[in-house]
């Protein structure tokens, strides 16, 4: 069965420091992986996706994610966090056969000044 795990409910980081939000997945076949962000009182916004190609994917707002097939991970990263990055982040995997999307439980990122 397809699934996504975000092992951290919350990540705290100081502004200017690098950040990592973890995601691991379980799929049969090649994964299509996504990251979305949900700001307070706003809808989910697409950040980036991995379909094929380079393992390092660059997305919106300076975020990037590294696909690691051997570790079945797709961690979200940013070299220097901003207070405005504070939000809820969701990792998702797409079931290729059935066009379903499976979302993780979300990780709340707190960036403190």
């Amino acid at each position: 069965a397809q699934s996504v795990a975000q092992p951290e409910d919350q990540v705290n980081v100081a502004e200017g420091n690098p950040l990592t939000v973890k995601c691991t997945y379980s799929v049969s076949g090649n994964p299509y992986l996504f990251w979305y962000v949900q700001y307070p009182n706003r809808g989910l916004q697409f950040l980036l996706k991995y379909i094929t190609g380079d393992n390092l994917v660059k997305g919106s707002y300076g975020f990037e994610a590294e696909f690691n097939k051997s570790q079945t991970s797709f961690h979200l990263k940013k070299p220097s966090a901003l207070v405005s990055d504070s939000a809820l982040y969701f990792c998702a995997v797409r079931d290729v056969d059935f066009n379903k999307f499976y979302f993780g439980s979300g990780t709340k990122l707190n960036v403190k000044p």
């Binding site: 975000q6 299509y32 996504f34 979305y36 706003r42 809808g43 989910l44 916004q45 697409f46 996706k49 379909i51 969701f90 998702a92 797409r94 059935f98 066009n99 379903k100 999307f101 499976y102 979302f103 993780g104 439980s105 979300g106």
Partner: protein, 115 residues
Amino acid sequence: GAGVSQSPSNKVTEKGKDVELRCDPISGHTALYWYRQSLGQGLEFLIYFQGNSAPDKSGLPSDRFSAERTGGSVSTLTIQRTQQEDSAVYLCASSLEASNPREQYFGPGTRLTVT
């Protein structure tokens, strides 16, 4: 251009009543998705449409839930005989088509409260 819109934004209903939630996707998007987000939980996939067809309805939580899409555009999610556990934010998303791994564009959601 206009994004995905959902109505109503908030709905409070009594247990046992039926509710209809509406989603207007982005024009030209053939794929439409419904999710449920409960407090403190992730997104639970409910159903998707490619055009007017819903190939897989297994994500719907019970037979009280149904969804339809007409004209390849607007979709309605209907919950019959609502229960308190149905209280959640119901999100709709659309994408250009389901067969390609396109990103989804989400609406603001409908917050449903069953009293």
